[in-house]
């Protein structure tokens, strides 16, 4: 049941972000789908006691991969889909906790949380880049095959 609720809310949230970023109306559903898929991977990994950093990395790789496919199919820039997918993963909650601890003068906790938020954003970024590199390698291999 919680999984279904998570799927629904992440779909709606990602599509709503599509509206805020003014994505083309036709691609709003796909934005929602990418967001939902990424969140599904993330939340299932976290629920199986994997680290949030690892979960973000893997989710980001998959989000970027699907976005590449969608960008290819619908002939639009990839950024439309990848942004909608990434938004739920952004460590807003941890960054908030860090800020709150800073204000409450608990610097030890605050630095720990801030480092964690930094690690997660780094993981998301690395995930995006890994996926892009793999895509480029596949494309190059295909070009070579065509030529041969």
């Amino acid at each position: 049941m919680t999984i279904i609720i998570n799927l629904m809310t992440s779909f709606i949230a990602a599509a709503a972000f599509g509206v805020i970023f003014n994505a083309p109306k036709k691609s709003l559903l796909q934005c929602g789908f990418v967001g939902m898929f990424g969140w599904l991977i993330y939340i299932s990994l976290v629920n199986h006691n994997h680290d949030a950093v690892l979960a973000s990395l893997i989710a980001a790789i998959f989000i970027s991969a699907i976005s590449q496919v969608f960008a290819k199919i619908y002939r639009t820039p990839i950024i439309i889909f990848s942004v909608a997918g990434i938004i739920p993963l952004v460590p807003g909650g941890i960054a908030y906790d860090a800020m709150r601890n800073f204000v409450e003068n608990d610097y030890n906790m605050a630095i720990q949380l801030a480092a964690r938020a930094f690690m997660i954003s780094g993981a998301i970024a690395v995930g995006l880049v890994i996926s892009e590199v793999i895509y480029q390698l596949i494309m190059k291999a295909r070009l070579k095959l065509k030529k041969a």
């Binding site: 972000f17 994505a23 950024i79 938004i87 807003g92 954003s121």
Partner: protein, 252 residues
């Protein structure tokens, strides 16, 4: 040779216009450079150079022509326009569109307003806030407070940004308002989890697009624009955090 130059100038104009629209609407730096080089190549300037930063574009042909500079002062997020310009550049490269047609089309795109109506954006922001609250394992009785605070926060951000030109200030005030409202909801007994309401409501302001673009630019070797976008993202996050922090320091 004589009549080659005027045409080159028009091609440069076209490339700069395309680059300007894309950059203003939040495209990645490498995409802007790629689009401009492609258009130029398709229209007979194979060795053009472009230098794109978030605040300006320098474009030069590999020729004796002077380089042209264009200043970008206002940046928003409008992915629809990015898609449209991308389509135009594709058509120019494949030869379906002539230079004049492309220029007219780009002018039309530049002046048009394709954004969703404000009330729809606000609605989307409030729904997104409420959904995020649920996704971060909040309880359902906080749904309505998160919906309202998220909507009010986003609305105040949009309207403050129209009045005050400094983006960080409007973000600061918007998150301050979000903090105050959430505390009021808790005090009135309408919500139970202060943290979840605030995190959910802040999400529409979080610079997710900027962070993603910054890292992509850095990895693609656009160090200057990557770092400056990163700085913008950091300042935004800091403004949001500071707004909430001020509320908490009043509270404790």
């Amino acid at each position: 040779m004589e009549n080659k130059y005027p045409q080159t100038f028009e091609v440069i104009e076209l490339c700069l216009l395309a680059g300007k629209i894309m950059l203003q609407c939040g495209a990645e730096t490498y995409r802007v450079e790629d689009t401009m080089t492609r258009i130029a190549a398709a229209l007979g300037i194979p060795n053009s150079h472009s230098y794109v930063t978030p605040t300006g574009i320098v474009f030069s042909t590999d020729d004796t022509n002077p380089a042209k500079l264009i200043r970008i002062s206002e940046r928003t997020t409008d992915l629809y326009k990015v898609t449209l310009v991308n389509g135009v550049s594709r058509k120019v490269s494949s030869g379906e569109m002539t230079r004049e047609q492309a220029f007219l089309k780009l002018k039309e795109i530049e002046n048009a307003n394709y954004t969703f109506p404000i009330y729809q954006q606000i609605l989307a922001a409030s729904i997104a806030s409420a959904c995020f609250m649920v996704m971060f394992q909040g309880e359902w009785n906080n749904f309505i407070p998160a919906l309202i605070t998220g909507g009010v926060g986003f609305t105040s951000f949009i309207f403050l940004h129209r009045v005050v030109q400094i983006k960080f200030f409007s973000e600061f005030i918007a998150s301050f308002i979000i903090g105050i409202l959430s505390i009021l909801f808790i005090k009135a007994g309408l919500g139970t989890q202060l943290d979840k309401i605030i995190i959910g409501s802040v999400m529409p302001l979080v610079p997710g697009l900027l962070i993603t673009n910054a890292v992509r630019d850095l990895m693609a070797g656009h160090l200057v624009s990557g770092l400056s976008k990163g700085a913008e993202a950091f300042l935004t996050a800091f403004a949001i955090g500071a707004g909430i922090a001020v509320v908490f320091s009043f509270l404790s």
